[in-house]
């Protein structure tokens, strides 16, 4: 167990402050990339740290503190999504978004953002989360597997599925 994890588990209040400093923005980003809603992500990040605080005594160091925190965040995000029964955007909605004209014209910032949002939302929450951990957090598949409670093989398969899906939507334009 890391020193910080050990201190956190023992109830050290300063350790919790340190954990908030180190991980709050990362957790918020993970929540946002999984939920795709800023307000929900802000609320969720806060609730994740409430959970970390109240459950800190149960951290046994079987996984790293980092993946333990991510696991809590992911479980809470998935549960939240399950409750609101919103997971993916239907493909036809993605196609509609992609074909809709944007205010700043084709190739503009707004168009790119709309394409990105539509493409990412079409992934399942788990694929979004795995892709986020891999692509933005540069986590190893082992770490992703620990955080998402799955196997390294499943983590890799989810990531590759997400990449291929995103490539089909985002990677087909501007061919040389």
């Amino acid at each position: 167990m890391t020193d910080l994890g050990q201190r956190l588990a023992s109830g050290d209040e300063d350790a919790f402050t340190e954990v908030v400093k180190q991980y709050s923005r990362k957790v918020y980003a993970l929540c946002y990339r999984t939920l795709r809603d800023e307000e929900e992500a802000k609320d969720m990040a806060q609730e994740v740290f409430v959970r970390i605080y109240t459950k800190r005594g149960s951290f046994k160091g079987r996984s790293s503190l980092y993946t333990w925190i991510y696991r809590i965040a992911l479980n809470m995000c998935f549960t939240h999504l399950k409750k609101r029964r919103v997971g993916t955007v239907p493909l036809e909605d993605v196609e509609r978004t992609l074909s809709a004209p944007e205010a700043d014209g084709p190739g503009g910032r707004a168009e790119l953002e709309a394409r990105l949002a539509a493409a990412v939302k079409n992934l399942s929450p788990r694929q979004r989360a795995v892709f986020s951990m891999r692509f933005y957090d540069r986590m190893t598949y082992k770490e992703i597997a620990e955080a998402s409670g799955t196997t390294t093989g499943a983590a890799k398969a989810n990531h590759h599925f997400a990449v291929e899906h995103l490539r089909k939507i985002l990677g087909e334009g501007d061919k040389k």
């Binding site: 806060q46 409430v50 046994k60 333990w68």
Partner: protein, 207 residues
């Protein structure tokens, strides 16, 4: 690994992510010089990744972070936490030994149904065999499973998850094949139970 003269997509994804061995990277580079199909695929991956680099997380207002920890601590004060949902049932969870995977069933499975006289919402079953375990107390297990009849969504936790979460915080992990095998086993056992004494253990179930 090549298939029909082309590299597999996953190899090319790993290549673009820098996850292949130096020798495979060299092999792929050489191949890309002559294979238009694989080159086009790799280029589309680069375009995709470049686009995704622009997918920024919106920055909350500065005040959000200024008082973040303070709000968390306030929320975490005793009595401010949301009431635990069905947590009583799982209060024994952290102490569970690693031996048998358990299943918790919420609502009845579509077919066969649980006895009407006893609308069971919750019971435990052995994950590997589908054998129903009637009592929660003292049941050994490395994890718990949850299944929802309306969706057949199955949720699994490992013993290490049990240390941090309650059952509602879990997500489905089974492959389709695992799910089919499990549901099949579980249904068989439920039929057996129905034909004999039925599934009854009120103490183990949600009220």
């Amino acid at each position: 690994m090549k298939s029909e003269g082309h590299f597999e997509q996953h190899d090319l994804i790993d290549f673009v992510e820098g996850e292949v061995t130096p020798s495979l990277a060299d092999e792929i580079k050489t191949h890309l010089e002559t294979c238009e199909t694989c080159r086009a695929y790799v280029e589309s991956l680069w375009r995709t990744f470049a686009a995704l680099e622009g997918d920024e997380v919106p920055e909350p207002s500065p005040g959000y972070w200024d008082y973040f920890e303070q709000r968390v601590r306030e929320r975490a004060k005793p009595g401010r936490e949301p009431a635990p949902r069905r947590s009583l049932v799982f209060s024994w969870l952290p102490g569970v030994a690693a031996a048998v995977a358990l299943v918790i069933l919420f609502w009845s499975l579509p077919e066969p149904r649980l006895p009407e006289a006893d609308p069971v919402d919750l019971f435990l079953a052995d994950l590997s065999t589908g054998e129903i375990i009637e009592s929660l107390s003292g049941s050994p297990g490395i994890g718990l499973m949850l299944i929802e009849a309306d969706t057949n969504d199955i949720t699994r936790i490992d013993d290490y998850l049990a240390e941090t979460t309650d059952i509602y915080d879990l997500v489905d992990q089974l492959t389709e094949q695992e799910r089919e095998i499990f549901i099949s086993n579980l249904r068989d056992n439920m039929k057996e139970e129905d034909n004999t004494s039925g599934i009854t253990d009120g103490s183990a179930r949600k009220g």
